[in-house]
Point group: C2
Chain length 255, copies 2
């Protein structure tokens, strides 16, 4: 690894990762959509010695386990409950994640991700209902949340590569702490439009009912998750929040 | 729920669940296949105060969290590490899972699932390599293991419905503890062949590289997980182990 810690970082390799995470996100949404909403799991329901909703408790508990194994040592992995996490007994080796300048550590939009997931996305994914099996739904939520968080916080790498490719323009804007110019510099509306189209198409392919009887591989009118829900998710949340991550990171890039 | 606890249990509704779990399993295998093998995570590597491989430790820790939220209160949910699980603070409500006769509780092929997953399936899924990011791979393994275990232990419901539909024939065979006859009674080779074909087709559809450029929705020659690996998985492990679960359950059905 070079002295700037970013050898092997290229926009191409990062885009490949982001495209792979599109699949991860869509699979996870499809899985959650199989289960009913199970709304009591999201309401504060204290048990002796516990505070918070079932979902909060399960996410917190699982993050504590994964923290021990080094999950939150990578800049793209941000816990939803960072307080009182146990220290890692295992550290990911150097090559598992690219190092980023110190600025990366404090960039965090987990609260926004949690809020849009629980309040906006989940009601569109899951049908009204309560089958009482809350642990399956919140375990499934965690998979969705982790995939979305990883995708969005990957914006740190995107920003770093853009900074390296256009250091001069970014440096001027960062010195002036000029958010608008930074936002303009990093926005590529053509790529964004393509991403939104592609995730809708993936929702159609991955969410098709596959039966042996149709020769085409899939029925085309019955998707497990509405393709428009996925493309709106990207339009309204994933892309904007990734850009918030990028801007936040860049504003601190020269500190 | 009726006095036999099996109202609403029908072979049709069970088959629907099993077909849904095919998707879950295939998505999870595709996700794991994106990561390198990371073999040190599967070797015994004790840390102070811990014993076992990283994978064992992470699965054990996550199961302890999920047990608190009632995961292992359903007959189809069997922990890989049942010893010393904390008691549930939440119990799934009655309607989340069909009740089964007491026989169900002791039927358990988790050890076989673990062994074939780690030793046979994983090396076919993941490419040789070590990126040092063990927690992501073992978290991904856990999703695969839970999906496979749920699918296989769902055999308890399959067996119960078959028993209800052909009580007389099964009762004679169970009284004689005649495994071969029970196995013959519950085997439907036509359905098995269909399942193997369908999962291969699903691996093609869900594992296709989806790009915007091809009009067809998917490139057809580059699958994320080899369809033949998935159909062999069903042929050699999922179907046979489900049948072991069914036979074990039935042998104890009249106790």
């Amino acid at each position: 690894m070079g002295s700037d810690g970013t050898d092997n970082l290229s926009l191409d390799s990062i885009r490949k990762t982001l495209i792979g995470l599109e699949d991860t996100i869509i699979y996870s949404l499809i899985e959650r959509s199989k289960l009913p909403l199970n709304s009591p799991a999201y309401k504060s329901s204290p048990f002796p010695g516990f505070h918070g909703s079932l979902m909060q408790l399960l996410v917190k508990g699982t993050e504590a386990v994964q923290a021990q194994f080094g999950r939150y040592q990578s800049p793209e992995e941000v816990p939803f409950f960072p307080d009182n996490l146990p220290p890692p007994i295992v550290h990911p080796s150097q090559n598992c994640s690219q190092k980023l300048p110190a600025a990366a550590a404090s960039v965090n939009v987990s609260k926004d991700i949690w809020d849009f997931y629980v309040n906006k996305l989940l009601p569109q994914l899951a049908t009204e209902g309560d089958d009482g099996n809350y642990v399956l739904s919140v375990a499934s939520d965690l998979v969705c949340l982790q995939a979305l968080s990883r995708r969005i916080h990957y914006g740190k790498y995107v920003a770093e590569v853009k900074f390296i490719n256009e250091t001069e323009a970014y440096t001027t804007a960062i010195r002036a702490q000029d958010k608008d110019t930074i936002m303009n510099l990093l926005t590529d509306t053509k790529v964004e439009a393509m991403v939104k189209q592609r995730v809708a198409k993936k929702a159609m392919v991955f969410g098709a009912e596959v039966t042996l009887s149709d020769s085409n591989g899939s029925n085309t009118n019955n998707y497990k998750v509405e393709p428009s829900v996925v493309s709106r998710l990207y339009d309204e949340w994933v892309i904007p929040l990734t850009k918030v991550v990028e801007v936040d990171y860049l504003l601190k890039r020269l500190e």
